[in-house]
Amino acid sequence: VMGSLPEGQRQALECAYFEGMSHSEIAEKTGQPLGTVKTRIRSAMEVLKKVLS
């Protein structure tokens, strides 16, 4: 399921959930603004909830 997510969303979610990084750390790692990171994670969670639940 993770593989079906857009690259940005997948990367943000992996960093948060599987690597235990905070959103600011993810923003720093990916070079994206904090708001973008949050939005990507939010969107990714929505997709996963629909697919998995």
Partner: protein, 274 residues
């Protein structure tokens, strides 16, 4: 962090994913502790986060992973000398108190539950043991009563068969000069040695008893029981067992000391010849 009054959903999700910095996480926890709506939102976010574990291909870990992981946990515990629970849980309490680990609380609860269960089992065991003893005693009593009834039935059947047997003789007893108005009847079966009799006799002085005697064709009289205490009665009938196959020529009743004697010594009150 919040959109006025409540925490935004993405913040709750970030928290559920563990992606909020500690200071933001603490603020969120403080708010959630007093806000049912945000608490419900957090529960949903946690449920969604839990699904993430199933979003990747499931692969079996190497056999050593668990051992290594547990080894690290043990090493950390020993280094910190405290039970394991997430640091965030302790820091999360708004009142500053450190939450007690569930395992410890649960352990105490289980200990008390086990003690209570042990006491309950001991009481039940004692109760069952007592009940078992009571039932065993009652069973023994019933068994004894049943044996007594079986014995009585056998005796009655024997008496009935004796009365009905063609070789049973009936002997009429008449009162002697010692008891002119007395009378009696004897049923005797020589083959089985059963003697059955009834009598109409005057009252006895204290310390005395009537005793039935079989007078054989040859030899000394044989006791055929007492007509009173010590004798065997079925209602108004008395019965006794004498040696089998004795040829009787008469029956007699004498007055003897209570309990009877081996040979007659007192006055005859009834006499009847076969």
């Amino acid at each position: 962090l919040s959109n006025g009054e409540h925490i935004r959903l993405e913040e709750l999700e970030l928290y559920a994913l563990g992606a909020l910095p500690e200071n933001e996480a603490a603020a969120l926890e403080a708010h959630v502790a007093g806000c049912d709506e945000c608490a419900a939102g957090l529960a949903q976010a946690r449920a969604a986060a839990a699904l993430l574990a199933f979003s990747v291909n499931q692969e079996r870990s190497a056999g050593t992973v668990k051992a290594e992981l547990m080894g690290r946990v043990r090493a950390n515990l020993e280094a910190e000398n405290r039970p394991a629970w997430p640091a965030k849980v302790g820091a999360a309490r708004a009142d500053g108190a450190v939450a007690r680990p569930r395992a410890q609380t649960g352990g105490n609860w289980w200990n008390w539950a086990l003690v209570a269960a042990a006491v309950l089992l001991a009481l039940m065991s004692f109760g069952l043991s007592w009940q078992n003893r009571r039932i065993t005693a009652e069973l023994a009593k019933q068994r004894k009563a049943a044996e007594s009834m079986i014995h009585d039935r056998e005796q009655i059947e024997k008496l009935v068969s004796t009365l009905a047997a063609p070789d049973t003789v009936t002997v009429k007893l008449a009162g002697t000069e010692n008891a002119a108005n007395a009378s009696g009847t004897v049923k005797f079966n020589a083959k089985s040695g059963v003697v059955l009799y009834s009598a109409d006799l005057p009252a006895l002085p204290p310390g005395k008893s009537y005793q039935m005697w079989l007078v054989p064709a040859n030899g000394a009289p044989i006791s055929a029981g007492l007509l009173g205490p010590g004798g065997q009665a079925w209602g108004n009938l008395w019965t006794a067992q004498v040696p089998e196959n004795v040829q009787a020529k008469a029956f007699a009743v004498t007055i003897e000391p209570v309990g009877g004697l081996a040979q007659p010594s007192g006055p005859k009150v009834l006499l009847g010849a076969i």
